[in-house]
Amino acid sequence: MKQKRLVFAVLLITITICPGCWDSQEIERRAIVVGYGMDAAPQNKVKVTAQLIKIESSQLNIGEKPEKPFVTLTGMARTGFNGFVGLENETIGNLFFGQLKVVIVNNAIAKRGLKQYVDFLERHPFLPSQGYLVLTEGTAQEMLSEALAAKFIPGVAIADFLDNPRNIDQVIPMKNWRFIRKILVGPTDPFLPIISFSKEERAFQFKGIGVFRRDRLVGRLSKDESRMTALLMSKVSNAYLLIPVPGMGEVSFKGVTAQSKMKVLKTKPQLELEITVKVSGHVHDIPSQAARFKNKDIRQIQHAVQNALTKQMRKTIRHLQNLNSDIIGFGEKVRATRPESWKKMKWDEEYPKANIHVTVSFNLEDTGVYR
C-alpha cells in the first residue's frame, strides 16, 4: 500500500511539473508565416519578405470593409535563414514557420545559384518540407504583398493551386525537399514553376517553368514546352492539348495523361537514348462539330496528335540539351541501368550531344457524347 502511494505521488508530481509548458504558445501570440520571398539585393545580399496571416481580421463585423488579411515584413540578409532572424525582431509575436506553404525566389537570385539560400528549408523539421518553391520574373516582395481578387492570402492560394493534381499541365509543382535533393545529389536537374502577378485581374498566372543547371537558373521553357516536359516526365493527370487535325480544324483534348519509359540504347561512341510516351485523352471540342466517327477518323486524329506531340517533344528535349539541363532525368536512367559506363562518363559533355529518340503513341479514349 505504501509503495502504491509512493508511485502515485511520483506520477502526480511528474504530471504537474512536466506537461510540456515550455513549448506552449497561444495562437494570438503566433505570427504565422505562410509565404516567404527572396529577391536579389546589391552586394550579394538577399532581400527577404515574409507574409504573415492577420488572425484578428477573420473576426469582421457585418458591413465592415475587409482589409488585407495579411501583412508583409521585409529585411536584408546574407542567407535565407539569416533573413528569418532579422524579421523576428520586427514583430512582437513569435514567427511560426510550421505553416510555411510557399517560398518565392526571383530570377536574379536564382541566376546566382540557390544553394546558399535554400538549405534551411530542409535542415529543420519546424519548416515543412512539403512547402512549394516557385520562381518569379518580377520580385518576390510584389508577389507576397499584393491582395488577390479571388482569394485573400496569396501564399495559401499558390499552395492550394499547386496542391491540386488536376492543375498540373503547363505548370509542374516543385516541393522544397525535391528541389534541394536535386541540387545536392543530381544527376537530374531541378526546375521551378514561374509565377507572375497580373495587376489588372489581381490574380496569379503561371508562365512555364524555369530550368536549372544544378542550383543556377539557366533558362526557361514556354507554357507549351512545360506541358511537353510534364508529359515526358509522366507528371500529368489532366493536360489540355489543341492540335490541328486535317478536315476537322483545331481539335481540343482534355484529361490528357501520359506514361513515359526511358531506355538507354548505347553509351558508345555516342550516347543514344529512347523515350517512349504513351499518351491518352479525350476530345473536348471540335470546331467542325464532326460526329459519327469511323475507325479511319479515329486513326486520323490519333495520327495527328502523335505527330504533333513527337515534334513538340523533340523540340523541347533539344531546347533542354542546348541549356545543358537534364530536368527529365536521362542521366538518372543511365546511372541506374549502366553504372559502369556512368562512372566513366562526363555527363555535362555527353548530355548535350546525346541522340534522344522520341516515340509517341496516342490513345483516343472517347469523343464526348457523339458516336
Binding site: Q130, R335, T337
Partner: protein
C-alpha cells in the same frame, strides 16, 4: 529482502512473446535504419537487411540450443553454470551494462526526436524523465503486463505503420534503388553486420526465455518475428532510399522519420498522418523501453539475488537517467549509438554462442527443470 510475490513466476505464451519482441525491435531498429547499411552498400542497402536477418536467426538458434541444454535458466544463470560463479557474474554484469547503455541510447534517441520535431524548447531532461518513469512503471509490473500491453498495441501500430508506408511509397522513385547489386562482395557482409543492430533486441529473449511455455514453440515464433521485422525493415529501407536516394538519405539523423515526413497528402490530412506516425512510434519505443528495462532488472536479480527485479527496476532508473542525459546533443548521441550498434552483436549474439560452445566442449548441462 526478496518476497515470494516479487519473484517472477509466470508463463508466457508464444503470441505474447512475439508481440513484445516485434514491438521492441521495431521501436529500436527503426531509429537508425537504413543509415549504416546505406553507408556501406549504397542504393542496394536492402541486401544488408536480408543478411542481417539470417545472422539474427542463427543467433536465436544458438540461444534456443542453450535454453534446451539448461532448461529453466536465463542467460545470466547459464553463464554462472557454465563459467562458474565469479566469471559468470563478471561477464553477466558486463552483458547487462551493455544492454543498459543500449537502452539509454534508445531513450536518448527518442527524446532527441521529440525535441527536434515537437518540443524544441522543453528541456531534454524533462522528456527523458517522463519517458523513463512511464517505461519503468510498466517494467515494474512484470513480464506479463509488458507482453500483454505489447500484444494489445501490436496490431494497431503495425497496421498504422503499413498504411503510412503505403502512402509514403507514393513518393518513391524506383530508379533510386538501382543498380540492384554492388560489385564488391565483401560489402554485403559488412552491411549485414551493420544491419544486425536492428535485430539486437531479439537477443534479449535469452533473459526471459524460461517464461516461454512451451519452449518448443520458440523456433516457430522466433522465425516468425524475424520475418515480420525483415518485412518492415525492408519496406522502410526501400521507401527511404526510394524517396531520397542513397546519398541524400545519409544527410538525415533519422531517415525513416524523414521518409514519413514527406508523405504526399493534402495539408488537411498531413498533420493527422504525422500525429498517427508519432503516436505509433512513441508507443513502440515505450514498450521497448519497458521490456529492455525489465530484462536488465531481471538479469540483475539473477546475479545479485538479494534484491528482486521489482527493486532493481527502480534502482537502475537513476543510473539510466544520468546516462541518457549524458550526451550533449544529437551528434554525441549518434557517436555513442554508433558504438553500441557496432558492438551490440558481440554482447547479444556472440556471448550466448561462446557459452554454448564452452558448454558443448566441457559437456555441461543443466538439471531438468521440473
Amino acid at each position: 529482502m526478496t518476497k515470494k510475490a516479487d519473484v517472477e513466476q509466470t508463463a508466457i505464451g508464444p503470441w505474447l512473446f512475439v508481440s513484445v519482441l516485434i514491438i521492441s525491435s521495431l521501436g529500436y531498429g527503426l531509429q537508425n535504419i537504413p543509415f549504416y547499411t546505406v553507408k556501406i552498400l549504397g542504393q542496394c542497402a536492402y541486401w544488408g537487411i536480408l543478411i542481417a536477418a539470417i545472422i539474427a536467426a542463427l543467433g536465436l538458434g544458438v540461444i534456443y540450443l542453450l535454453a534446451r541444454r539448461f532448461p529453466g535458466q536465463s542467460l545470466i544463470e547459464q553463464g554462472k553454470s557454465i563459467l562458474g560463479n565469479f566469471a559468470g557474474t563478471v561477464t553477466g554484469l558486463a552483458y547487462l551494462a551493455f544492454i543498459l547503455l543500449m537502452l539509454a541510447m534508445l531513450n536518448r534517441e527518442i527524446s532527441n526526436q521529440i525535441s527536434l520535431y515537437f518540443l524544441n524548447r522543453t528541456p531534454i531532461s524533462v522528456t527523458v524523465l517522463i519517458y523513463l518513469l512511464t517505461g519503468v512503471f510498466i517494467a515494474s509490473r512484470g513480464i506479463e503486463t509488458i507482453t500483454r500491453a505489447a500484444s494489445f498495441v501490436m496490431i494497431v501500430t503495425m497496421s498504422l505503420l503499413l498504411i503510412l508506408l503505403v502512402i509514403g511509397f507514393h513518393n518513391v522513385t524506383w530508379s533510386n534503388l538501382l543498380p540492384l547489386f554492388n560489385p564488391d562482395p565483401l560489402k554485403y557482409l559488412q552491411a549485414g553486420k551493420a544491419a544486425l543492430q536492428n535485430f539486437l533486441i531479439l537477443g534479449l529473449v535469452a533473459l526471459v526465455l524460461p517464461y516461454l511455455k512451451p519452449l518448443d514453440s520458440f523456433p516457430r515464433f522466433a522465425g516468425g518475428s524475424v520475418l515480420v521485422l525483415l518485412l518492415f525493415y525492408l519496406l522502410f529501407t526501400i521507401g527511404t532510399i526510394g524517396v531520397y536516394g542513397s546519398e541524400f538519405s545519409l544527410r538525415f539523423a533519422y531517415p525513416t522519420v524523414e521518409f514519413l515526413h514527406v508523405i504526399d497528402l493534402r495539408q488537411v490530412l498531413l498533420e493527422q498522418a504525422g500525429m498517427v506516425a508519432s503516436i505509433t512510434w512513441l508507443t513502440m519505443i515505450l514498450m521497448g523501453t519497458a521490456f529492455i528495462h525489465y530484462s536488465v532488472a531481471l538479469g540483475l536479480s539473477k546475479l545479485i539475488p538479494i534484491f528482486t527485479y521489482k527493486q532493481f527496476v527502480w534502482f537502475i532508473a537513476p543510473i539510466e537517467f544520468l546516462v541518457v542525459i549524458w550526451p550533449t546533443g544529437t551528434i554525441q548521441t549518434k557517436t555513442i549509438s554508433a558504438f553500441v550498434n557496432s558492438y551490440g552483436w558481440i554482447s547479444l549474439f556472440i556471448y550466448p554462442l561462446v557459452l554454448w560452445l564452452i558448454a558443448l566442449v566441457l559437456k555441461k548441462k543443466g538439471a531438468v527443470n521440473s
